[in-house]
Amino acid sequence: MPEPRPHRDEDEPLFQPILRTGPGFYLAALILLSIVAWGVWGYSHQWRYGLGVTGLNRPVMWGFYIVNFVFFIGISHAGTLISAILRLVQAEWRRPITRAAEVITVLVLFFGVGSIIIDLGRPDRFFNVIRYGRLQSPLLWDVTSITTYLTASVVYLYLPLIPDIALLRDRVPGWRRGLYNVLALGWSGTAQQQRRLHVGIAIMAVIVIPIAVSVHTVVSWVFAMTIQPMWKSTIFGPYFVVGAIFSGIAALIIAMALMRRVYRLEGYLKTIHFSNLGTLLLVMSFLWLYFTFAEHLTTYYGGEPTEMAAFWARITGPYAHFFWAMAILNFVIPVAILCRRRTRTVVGTVIASASVSVGMWLERFIIVVPTLVNPRLPYPRGVYYPTWVEVSITAAAFSLFTLLYMVFTKLFPIISIWEIQEGREKGLQEVQDRMKSYLPGEEGPVLVPGSVRGKGGWRRWFR
């Protein structure tokens, strides 16, 4: 094992957000807190007077809150899934972006769950799920899958944080040192500790992918297990997963751009990172279009009257402006920007991502509301307009998420310091060795992570 090396001065910018806090942070926090306070007031109004203060009514029983739930759970695919895939394929450019992505996952999952509790109207009844839950209901499937995903995501975020927390423990004075002392688990970088950490990260990177895919599939089943028009679809699972990864990448790009700008991390979050993620976003945009087209074409070709009512409500009816705005924001704008290398810059990818974020929220709205306005059963048709309460709570949720993300960057490095250093020390050599193993010639040791072939088996990989 090589001798321990001190962290380099060149990584000092990664400590700066934790060591120094400027007035801009407090100003931003104050503005966000004000919006959160307004949302809390809105929720207290709903608590006192019930769901009657919202726009929810027969037959539209799901509105903004469920749209937010699906949107937040979708965004959560930013982190763990993208980070795990990039880790498994040993994409070296992942190093500065994985943590920013993993934090998004953990935080938005809480907001996804929170949206459901707010939608309950009587939040105390949430405990009935624990006490009298019937696992025949897809809603209970959601509870179990989101619990699993949240647990896995927290572990997957925490594991690579441990060495960085130990660094902070040794640098940061004050009350935070006590927190770091506990969370660092006594990390001192011994060979045994490193081996265990690498095993943990490798196992979690494999486990978290099927869990993440299953979560949004289960979210889609909340809709697809009903016989409501345009919900009962066999492709809803993959359709939702694609949309989730799509919106997740967009959220990640926006978060990265903000961190880069605010904390002056241009040396770490480079144009190439945005360009690579922009390419991924472009691919997902085409995939999203494919699924959306397939979904609408099969409905149109079938021509079933109740399905067509929901279909026309989207295409030419009262929700047409949302539908076409969604199509422009999710496909036309991002593709126009991202298909050319010249415009796939930091600014270009951020504009495309902002467009996709709004577009994907509209997509969730388009899935939920027009169907409920045109139900299969012969209820009277209705119209859904959100009230100030729903708009306030939604604004508060997004503000609180942003605020918590900011607070995280003040407590922990938003870029993994040890992974950056590892990239510098070993990355080049590893990539060279890997390249050699791809080229024609004698069969060398297999350097692909997770492989059990070759001398030494999987243990060699963790060494």
């Binding site: 094992m1 090589p2 001798e3 321990p4 090396r5 001190p6 962290h7 624990i130 009298y132 839950g133 019937r134 696992l135 025949q136 209970l140 499937w141 179990t144 619990t147 699993t148 647990t151 896995a152 572990v155 925490y158 594991l159 441990i162 060495p163 130990a166 660094l167 423990r169 040794d170 640098r171 002392n181 506990v182 969370l183 660092a184 688990l185 006594g186 990390w187 001192s188 970088g189 011994t190 060979a191 045994q192 500790q193 490193q194 265990r196 950490l197 690498h198 095993v199 943990g200 196992i203 979690m204 486990i207 869990i211 310091i417 040890w418 250093q421 590892e422 510098r424 020390e425 070993k426």
Partner: protein
């Protein structure tokens, strides 16, 4: 992993075991809930098939989490402490 140098001031308080203990308790709580759901479904003869399928997925996953917590979190915490050499003991 590139070993990061610690300043030597690192402390290894007993509270470092709090994270693995809390995590194991949480995972055990979820497993207990699933067993409770199984019992509920059996007693009421209600949605037994669904409960068995979900429990057979969820319980092994959380058992794996428990194992991971013990191996990684507890293992790291147990091999910590001042006076340990770079290779650990």
């Amino acid at each position: 992993m590139v070993p990061l140098k610690m300043t030597g001031r690192q402390e290894a308080p007993p509270l470092r075991y709090a994270v693995p203990i809390l995590f194991v308790l949480f995972a055990a709580g979820v497993i207990y809930w699933m067993i409770y759901e199984l019992r509920l479904a059996w007693e009421r003869n209600d949605s037994w098939g669904f409960t068995v399928v979900i429990a057979s997925i969820l319980i092994p996953i959380f058992l794996l989490f428990v194992g991971l917590a013990i191996y990684v979190f507890w293992g790291i915490a147990a091999s910590a402490g001042p006076g340990r050499g770079p290779e650990g003991r």
